[in-house]
């Protein structure tokens, strides 16, 4: 593991930039634990102060310090992305491995459902969900429903790897030595698909955080929990751009762009690393 990281850091520009961006965002989110102000309190500092040495990123019209608010928001947003990614990975792995290994009608049935979830536009459904839930919508609930809707694309990817593993000799050996389907999938096939699972995790986080920001800026989530989206929502509610409180919008926007580009670059560099052809090219060999 350490050797892989070292190789990536040495030979892969995308990984370096991605690691720096994600590292900075992570650092800021960890700082939330040291915040002098509770995240939900308003009017703890003078409102509408521009960035200064005492308030690095300025203060909001609600009397909150943008720096500390942003730190809480990043922590919640990243936690949200990780929760969705974790749960949807489990679903994608279970469905992808089973579908690829079983073949036949199980595969066809699972993939039909899979393709359905790829095609359906999810935002209107999530909006409908909010419309029905209203104030009872918590971020955990949103994370759960998004995990249940967001596994399809990666399940198909995992399935294609599982299909190629099926015809390998060791699968037959383990089958003849009496292992059950579940044992073969978990003990034999899972290690081979883990690299793709890592890279899809990043992409899935980009997807889920993007949707969360979208829903939150419209006010369609639990807007009292500080996330990047809800920060921008409150800034819009107080017409921060028109009032000239640009720092309230600018810093969350910059932070979220850093998060997205960072996660995306990590995913890209991992994909490059998994593919032996491009890995060879990146360390300077000829393919």
């Amino acid at each position: 593991m350490a050797a892989i990281l070292r190789d990536l850091l040495r030979h892969n520009v995308e990984f370096r930039i991605g690691a720096v961006l994600v590292g900075a965002v992570l650092l800021l989110s960890v700082l939330a634990s040291f915040s002098p102000y509770p995240p939900l309190d308003v009017y703890v500092v003078p409102p509408d102060l521009p960035p200064s040495p005492s308030h690095w990123f300025g203060t909001t019209s609600r009397g909150q310090d943008v720096f500390w608010q942003l730190s809480f928001a990043l922590r919640n947003t990243l936690l949200f992305g990780c929760t969705v990614a974790l749960i949807s990975r489990l679903l994608a792995l279970a469905i992808g491995l089973l579908s690829g290994y079983s073949g036949g009608w199980i595969d066809r049935a699972l993939m039909s459902i899979n393709d359905t979830f790829i095609v359906i536009p999810l935002l209107p459904l999530l909006v409908l969900f909010y419309f029905v839930m209203r104030d009872r919508m918590s971020w955990l609930m949103l994370a759960l429903i998004m995990a249940c809707l967001g596994w399809a694309y990666d399940a198909r990817l995992i399935r294609s790897v599982a299909m190629s593993l099926k015809s390998r000799e060791f699968t037959e050996t383990s089958l003849f030595s009496g292992m059950s389907t579940r044992e073969i999938l978990v003990q034999e096939h899972l290690p081979y698909v883990l690299p793709i699972v890592f890279s899809t995790t990043m992409n899935n986080m980009v997807w889920s955080i993007g949707l969360e920001v979208t829903l939150a800026v419209l006010g369609f989530t639990d807007i009292n929990t500080p996330t990047i989206g809800s920060m921008i929502y409150w800034a819009n509610q107080h017409t921060a751009m028109v009032a000239g409180v640009w720092w309230w919008v600018a810093f969350p926007t910059v932070a979220v762009i850093m998060t997205f580009i960072g996660l995306f670059l990590l995913a890209v560099s991992m994909n490059d690393y998994i593919d032996p052809r491009s890995r060879l090219r990146s360390v300077g060999g000829t393919s």
């Binding site: 536009p121 419309f131 419209l218 580009i261």
Partner: protein
């Protein structure tokens, strides 16, 4: 490809389309009916919170809402009524624009969204694919390399953030383009030159935010595909045989890489539609997205449900169309 095999393929795709619509509508049903909250009480509290209403009037409203949204009767009956309304495209009158029927509001908004999405998707896909193909083929070109870096930076940004940035740039810093609405207010809607021009002008910013992100993703996809195709034996052979570079690029490389790009288009339409919803809201574009968001703010249950259903239907029809055209565009595709 033989006709019979295409027919089998088309029937399979059609079955998939029916499944998508079936599951989508069922999801909508489950979301609206399996939650502990009663949408009728929601609507009523939304209306009554604005002032005092006579109890008798509330009772009357509650009964008619229950009938309208098929919430009376046994669960099986409710389910059947739900489907009947959807198949008839009858979502009752809109609460927020009473008594205009929901279907009329949706029909008014649909052309805006369809037009915006079609134009911006075609431009983004075409431009991204073409430039990505060139970038994958000619890895030394500096301009194309720079374009790759820009694409990597643009592609992962969510639609809302990019739309917000465009709004700030063209709304506050350099106000040259209209930032709100679908056309100028004072023009009659019709096929006059002024109206068409005004529509085009108002579409620039919403389309641009969809295109900028789209170009990035198609560019990266096509570049990766082409750089894999370029190393294939038949391309090396064609180069050695002295086939002109332009011909190699167009008929040996691009043509082969195009197939997964078309599949990719079908797969990502749902996501592009999500982007259009939020982009429309940011720029106040009079399409389905704005209608959906405003319906939620107004507490208009029928309208939210109607827009959701129509979006699912619209996106699946578009995907079906791409799927059906795709073997015709590329005769090499194996039809299973």
């Amino acid at each position: 490809m033989r006709k019979g095999r295409y027919l089998v393929y088309a029937i399979r795709r059609l079955a998939q389309f029916v499944l998508v619509v079936f599951i989508g509508v069922n999801l909508a049903y489950v979301i609206t009916h399996a939650t502990p909250i009663d949408p009728v009480e929601q609507s009523i509290s939304a209306v009554t919170s604005f002032g005092n209403t006579a109890p008798a009037a509330i009772e009357e409203m509650r009964r008619s809402l229950r009938e309208l949204y098929g919430l009376s009767g046994s669960p099986v009956e409710q389910y059947l009524v739900f489907w009947k309304r959807i198949l008839r495209a009858d979502f009752g009158p809109s609460l927020s624009a009473f008594p205009t029927p929901v279907s009329a509001l949706v029909a008014r908004a649909l052309p805006w969204t369809a037009g915006l999405l079609t134009v911006s998707t075609i431009i983004a896909w075409g431009l991204g694919t073409l430039l990505g193909g060139l970038a994958g083929y000619d890895r030394t070109n500096r301009g194309l390399k720079l374009m790759g870096v820009v694409a990597m930076g643009l592609h992962p940004i969510p639609y809302y953030i990019l739309a917000l940035l465009l709004l700030i740039v063209f709304g506050f810093l350099w106000p040259v383009l209209p930032i709100s609405g679908g056309s100028a207010m004072n023009l009659p809607q019709g096929l006059s030159v002024d109206f068409v021009l005004s529509v085009a002008l108002h579409a620039i910013l919403p389309a641009l935010s969809l295109i900028l992100i789209g170009v990035g993703s198609w560019f990266l996809g096509m570049r990766a595909l082409v750089s894999n195709v370029v190393t294939e034996d038949y391309v090396v052979y064609a180069e050695l045989a002295g086939v002109r570079p332009w011909r190699i690029l167009s008929s040996y490389v691009m043509r082969n890489a195009l197939v997964p790009q078309v599949t990719g288009l079908a797969i990502s339409l749902g996501g592009i539609f999500n982007g259009a919803v939020i982009t429309e809201k940011v720029f106040g574009y009079p399409g389905l997205g704005s209608l959906l968001v405003d319906a939620v703010y107004a507490g208009d249950y029928g309208l939210v449900l109607g827009v959701t259903t129509v979006s699912i239907l619209g996106v699946s029809i578009a995907v079906l169309a791409i799927d059906l055209l795709y073997p015709l565009l590329d005769p090499r595709v194996k039809v299973r």
